[in-house]
């Protein structure tokens, strides 16, 4: 069973995702901040950390901080950034690809 952490638990998408990933036999936990993510990572093996970013937030800074924190781990998880808001072209995905971060647009 895959283990997923969803950062930014305040938004509705986080709760929807936590429910939705059960369809692929995954368990998702919601986290409110980076420190909580690191705390959980110290106790259990996590496959994916998802950062949900709204259109008004600087997702790149958030991703860099998360990368720095998680890179110290022996078995770092895959970081996925879900961008909510209008599609801005391929530059965000290319930026993420160079850093090992999967960038996905949420299209409602």
């Amino acid at each position: 069973m895959g283990n997923i952490l969803v950062l930014n638990s305040g938004c509705t998408l986080a709760a929807e995702l936590a429910r939705g990933v059960q369809a692929i036999s995954c368990h998702a936990s919601l986290c409110s901040d980076k420190e909580q993510v690191i705390d959980i990572m110290g106790k259990q093996l996590v496959d994916i950390v998802i950062l949900i970013s709204g259109p008004e937030t600087d997702w790149k800074t958030g991703v860099e901080a998360l990368r720095d924190a998680l890179s110290q781990l022996q078995n770092p998880p895959q970081i996925v950034c879900i961008l909510c808001g209008p599609y801005q072209g391929p530059s965000d995905r290319l930026y993420g690809a160079r850093r090992g971060v999967r960038v996905i647009y949420e299209r409602r």
């Binding site: 895959g2 990933v21 995954c26 994916i48 998802i50 996925v80 879900i82 999967r102």
Partner: protein, 175 residues
């Protein structure tokens, strides 16, 4: 679940990423080793050269920047990855396997073989290869520890056994 339709692409992507992690954990990454000066009708025969080794990840090749001697060692751990490789065994293979003793013999105008690593220098070469692997993994955005790919396992005595945990493909070119 009509309301969750918009999540389907995200969940499918997460499913793919999880499968990719499982595959990496089980099989290791995928490397391509290219042999040069190969003659048609033969594969991995002596006289060929080891031209390069690269990581293949998400449709892209990422070369390992290692010395000719290091390349020989990478080739060896790839070709003998189902053999228990101690430093002594590696040295023995390097000195007896025609692929290494006649390395580059097909090259035009004779050949100058790369220096073969000896038993005492193998540990240093392995460490250097791991360092280059680490740089390549970072470049590729691959969260992998090189020590879990080029593995050094202790035995019941002081001897260390080296093992490559990866899938490998050999490619050949005639120049």
């Amino acid at each position: 679940m009509r309301g969750d339709e918009h999540l389907r692409p995200i969940i499918e992507e997460l499913d793919y990423l999880l499968a990719e992690r499982r595959q990496l954990a089980a099989e290791g990454p995928h490397f391509i080793v290219t042999h040069g000066f190969h003659k048609s009708g033969s594969l991995c025969l002596h006289g060929e050269t080891v031209e390069r080794a690269c990581l293949m990840y998400r449709w892209q090749e990422y070369p390992l920047h290692i010395s000719p001697t290091g390349l020989l060692l990478v080739d060896l751990v790839c070709r003998y990855r189902r053999t228990l490789l101690t430093a002594a065994r590696i040295e023995q293979i390097m000195l007896t396997d025609l692929f290494y003793t006649r390395h580059g013999a097909n090259r035009y105008g004779g050949y100058r073989s790369a220096a073969l690593p000896n038993r005492t220098s193998i540990k240093v070469h392995i460490q250097r290869i791991r360092e280059q692997m680490a740089k390549t993994f970072i470049e590729a955005g691959l969260n992998l520890h090189p020590g879990k790919v080029l593995i050094a396992e202790p035995t019941d005595s002081n001897i260390v056994v080296y093992r490559l945990k990866a899938s490998v493909e050999f490619m050949h070119r005639s120049y």
